[in-house]
Symmetry: C2
Subunit: 114 residues, 2 copies
């Protein structure tokens, strides 16, 4: 089991801001996995493996989100409230999983690590 | 309500690795908050505010962890499994909260943003 978090590199964020957005996506996608408690438990017990990947546009992120949903994977798209560095409503990242590694890879396998 | 994640800057990590560790701390501390479901619910509904802060040594991080525990705040210290960039067992970061903002600030208020 693993979780993938995909980040937009075309949105400029400091590394603290970026880390907070990734954490937000991780938690939101993990909550989506409540429908699959077997996946969630196995992931937690196995050390909650996570990978952080990158895309360079919102279109790519939206496309991955639609694919993940179509594959019935837990997925959560994160919008920033825009109180600090970004415009309100800016989509920053996407959490997918926890889910079996092959299912995650079928959606995100071609992406590069951040 | 807010959550603070405190990161060691004396441990060198790429930004993807750093973000994954912060997400790990966020989720682990949020699970610790299961004992205070009122805090957790209010934090979630309010947009799960998070700040990412920094310290420059493990001693500082351990001190903050002890203080948070003494104040009965949800807290989780994260050790990396060391499969990639770090030595196994390296303490990388600390999640505190969600908890009321003043309680978080009493422990972390003097720290700088990452």
């Amino acid at each position: 089991m693993k979780q993938a978090i995909v980040v937009r590199t075309d949105v400029k964020m400091g590394k603290g801001k970026l880390a907070a957005q990734v954490a937000h996506a991780s938690l939101a996608a993990a909550e989506e996995a409540a429908r699959r408690p077997d996946w969630y438990s196995e992931w937690k017990e196995g050390g909650q493996a996570k990978i952080v990947l990158k895309v360079s546009s919102e279109d790519e992120l939206q496309g991955l989100y639609q694919t993940a949903r179509a594959e019935r994977l837990p997925a959560a798209l994160i919008r920033d409230r825009g109180l600090t560095q970004l415009e309100p409503g800016t989509v920053t990242c996407l959490g997918i999983g926890p889910a079996p590694e092959d299912k995650i890879d079928s959606v995100t396998g071609r992406l590069k690590l951040l």
